[in-house]
């Protein structure tokens, strides 16, 4: 998997990085200031992801001041070696031409050197600032307890996982290592934010709101391989509406607070992400669609007491940089995600295995 690596900055000796960074800032002109409010570590096992990640770091540097540590590891490489580069991302802070800059340290770790990940992270953090660690690779055992204990926000994207059941279990294990001190941030969940907003918006109407208690069926259509996202959305319904999962050998359904049974159906089709959500009861039907990853949702509602209506709701940007920005900007803990994940955890082995 040896990939050609473009130079992502000034090549430096790993043991000299702090010194080189100091020199970099000393030699820069007075219009540039270094800023840092957090440490953002991005770990990938796809060496070819260097450019896309650097581009992503540059995008978010315009809104967050941080020290970015991009680590590209190839544990299977035949030869062992470690290299590093430093660079800076600057943007204009005001009309006076002053620039605010975030620094990026890029590492390429091949072969046995890939096992030095914890040391590379520990050695290069900006002290005292929170650590956000985005693992673009899958978690592997044995987990390095010391490393994960240091992570304040563990970012991952369950949409990219080949074995979500195992990976969620490992994420949970990390959480227990840190005594719940780490916040789990699933970008797959972050991507659902606009869906959740759109769904909530539609039910703002008081007559529509009453229908939420009458739901007997949920149907979600998602792109091939996107069942985890559909399940997380289902988990969100469960937490927000107080549904309890009935996980039986023959079938799975939710029980509403009223005792009403709610059928669930998740199907896959061509497209991207979630493409269609339908909530229905005996007398009402609500649909939310996002065809062809369009920049908007199309919603329709048929319910007693209100005229049938349709509406278009903006879906917001959802490029990788936008999603990471949304995650970093939101901060705080994610109790809703944790609740949604807990709610659908028993369904994961069955539902995801069908992918």
């Amino acid at each position: 998997m040896e990939a050609a690596v473009n130079e992502p900055g000034l090549p430096v000796e790993i043991g000299q990085i702090d010194w080189e960074l100091g020199r970099l800032w000393e030699s820069s002109d007075d219009t540039k200031s270094r800023a840092s409010l957090l440490n953002l570590v991005i770990y990938s096992e796809l060496p070819e992801a260097m450019d896309s990640n650097t581009e992503l770091i540059a995008t978010i540097a315009s809104q967050h001041a941080f020290r970015a540590i991009l680590i590209l590891a190839d544990p299977q490489a035949a030869t062992s070696g470690a290299r590093a580069w430093i660079s800076a991302h600057c943007h204009l802070a005001d009309k006076g031409g002053h620039q605010i800059c975030s620094e990026q340290i890029t590492f390429r770790l091949d072969g046995e050197s890939a096992s030095s990940l914890p040391n590379i992270v520990f050695s290069h953090l900006d002290s005292d600032l929170p650590l956000c660690f985005w693992s673009q690779a899958e978690f592997r055992e044995p987990l390095d307890e010391q490393l994960w204990t240091w992570v304040d926000r563990l970012i991952f994207d369950s949409a990219t996982w080949r074995k979500p059941v195992e990976q969620f279990a490992l994420a949970q294990k990390i959480l227990s290592i840190t005594d719940g001190g780490t916040v789990l941030c699933d970008l797959n969940w972050t991507r659902l934010h606009r869906w959740r907003l759109a769904l909530a918006n539609v039910f703002d109407h008081s007559a529509a709101l009453a229908c939420l208690q009458e739901i007997t069926r949920v149907r979600i259509e998602c792109a091939l391989g996107e069942r985890v996202k559909a399940l997380l959305l289902l988990g969100w319904f469960s937490v927000q509406l107080g549904w309890r999962l009935q996980h039986l050998l023959s079938e799975n359904f939710f029980l509403a607070k009223s005792g009403k049974q709610i059928e669930i159906e998740i199907s896959e089709a061509e497209g991207a992400g979630i493409t269609f959500v339908e909530l229905s009861g005996e007398e009402f039907r609500f649909k939310l669609e996002r065809p062809d990853a369009a920049g908007f949702f199309h919603a329709s509602l048929h319910a007693p007491g209100i005229p049938d209506c349709t509406m278009t709701i903006g879906a917001g940007p959802d490029r990788p940089g936008d999603i990471l920005l949304a995650e970093l900007s939101r901060g705080g803990r994610h109790p809703l995600f944790a609740g949604a994940l807990d709610a659908i955890r028993p369904l994961l082995p069955d539902m995801v295995a069908r992918q």
């Binding site: 030095s116 050695s123 010391q146």
Partner: protein, 492 residues
């Protein structure tokens, strides 16, 4: 400026002379801080000429000096350096040195002022001190002075430290004895007192009411390198904790001295050492963690385990890491633990004191679900000497999001001039007769008393050595130490 004097360095061909002492003296000369009549005599066993000795020192100074060597200035500085060959045990060598120094006094007008620097291996201290006394070199001439600087380690335990102190005392009065701890010569270490006692903001809060705990860390990515022979006998506790780290603890914890003279400050430091709750017996395994590095990775490269290093006993039980909880049992610090850790083959190199303030009451922001980090004042001793203060700030935007931010002060950039090396300050102080930054006999002995009881417990229970991977932050057991207090080690 100090009075003109002659500095005699015993063990002049060693590492310390080349890496630290001569570059420090050159920098002082370059800064115009030395009297022109000052001279340096290197005393060692190897056979070499004055010229050969100067050439070696020039090479080292070019490599290790913080200032670039100016050829003209070096030439004039080097003219003041000479070499005296003698065995340390050979009294005749000291007698010939005395004659040579007398000649130099006459020629250079150094007034009989002598500063003897014991930079040799510690096992030579005794014979050097004895011969200085026998040859009368310990006595100052009329109107002059004779002082001695003793490098660490100052003993290996309390009895040996007492023995060494007695020997020194037999040759030089306490007022002329300078026990060096180079940490105390660093600007930031000196700044601790200014920070504490010149800033109402901090002094008012420097007590158990506002401070939750203090962490003192000295970490380095290096292994034993060329010091295995010494280190394997010493270990981290004796190499670092007994001297450097306890000295930093004293500066952090001491009461305001009655004045800035050496004894006023040292009186307060000694009171701190006497207030340390002794760690004995079972308390040691509860409050002291010792570790030894195993194989691992540093900066992407594999490194060997301590026991596989050259000149290390393959079954060595020497600790390369120590973490301990120290309690200062006095009014100011009741209930405030001082967590001290030191280690080799750790991810980052640095020495710092981190004062962790107590949390704000868990109201107001608790409802928002925002975690508010405690304030931390960090005094960085090395590298990048400076001070930083962590506080919480609202992130710009419509929602209430609280994030930690840092206010940072760097010595390197704030004052527009280079920070002198610790040895420069300490040599200058010793030449000027200011012992403030040197340890007094009672300080050294109190520190040994504290450390010896830990070692005695280790000896009784040798099985509790924990191993850690090189490149990690030490054994997991060290995490438990802080966890018990509801905190974690600071991220350097």
């Amino acid at each position: 400026m100090p009075e003109p004097c002659t500095i005699v360095i015993f063990g002049a061909t060693g590492d310390l002379t080349h890496r630290k002492l001569v570059p420090a003296l050159y920098n002082l000369a370059a800064d115009g801080a030395l009297p022109p009549a000052m001279s340096v005599v290197g005393f060692a066993r190897r056979d070499k000429s004055d010229e050969g000795f100067r050439n070696e020192l020039e090479e080292a100074a070019r490599k290790f000096s913080r200032q670039t060597i100016n050829d003209g200035l070096w030439k004039s500085f080097a003219a003041s350096i000479s070499y005296h060959r003698s065995e340390f045990h050979d009294l005749a060598g000291y007698e010939s040195l005395a004659a040579r120094l007398a000649e130099m006094d006459a020629a250079r007008g150094t007034r009989g002022n002598r500063l003897y620097y014991l930079a040799s291996a510690p096992d030579q201290f005794e014979v050097i001190l004895e011969n200085l006394r026998k040859s009368g070199l310990n006595k100052a001439g009329d109107g002059g002075w004779a002082r001695v600087i003793v490098e660490k380690p100052f003993g290996t335990d309390l009895p040996s430290a007492r023995h060494l102190n007695d020997l020194v005392e037999g040759a030089f009065p306490e007022a002329d004895t300078y026990r060096i701890d180079h940490y105390l010569g660093k600007e930031t270490a000196q700044n601790i007192m200014v920070l504490r006692f010149a800033n109402a903001l901090f002094e008012a809060m420097w007590n158990a009411r506002y401070i939750d705990h203090v962490q003192i860390t000295a970490s380095e990515p290096l292994g034993v390198e060329g010091r295995a022979g010494y280190y394997d006998k010493s270990g981290a506790l004796r190499d670092m904790v007994q001297n450097h780290l306890l000295q930093l603890l004293c500066l952090t914890a001491m009461e305001p001295p009655t004045g800035l003279d050496a004894d006023a400050i040292r009186d307060e430091k000694v009171k701190v050492l006497r207030s340390l709750r002794p760690l004995e017996g079972a308390e040691v395994s509860k409050h002291v963690i010792r570790g030894q590095y195993g194989a691992g990775a540093i900066n992407g490269k594999r490194v060997a385990a301590y026991r596989d290093e050259a000149n290390v006993d393959p079954e060595s039980m020497t600790e390369t890491f120590v973490a301990l909880q120290v309690n200062v049992d006095n009014w100011r610090w009741a209930g405030v633990p001082f967590f001290v850790r030191v280690g080799k083959r750790l991810p980052k190199g640095g020495t710092e004191i981190a004062v962790h303030f107590k949390s704000v009451p868990p109201v107001l922001f608790k409802a928002t679900g925002e975690a508010v980090d405690d304030n931390v004042l960090v005094i960085r001793i090395q590298p990048d000497e400076g001070v930083s203060l962590r506080m919480s700030a609202k992130m710009p935007g419509s929602s209430l999001r609280i994030e930690p931010v840092k206010m940072d002060f760097h010595y390197g950039t704030s004052f527009g001039k280079a920070t002198p090396e610790a040895y420069e300050r300490l040599l200058l102080d010793a030449m000027s007769g200011d012992a403030t930054l040197f340890a007094r006999r009672d300080e050294v002995e109190e520190a040994w008393k504290f450390v010896d009881s830990i070692r005695a417990a280790w000896k009784a229970n040798p099985g509790d050595l924990a191993f850690y991977a090189s490149g990690s932050w030490g054994p997991a057991e060290a995490e438990e130490l802080t966890k018990r207090h509801g905190t974690t080690w600071r991220r350097l």
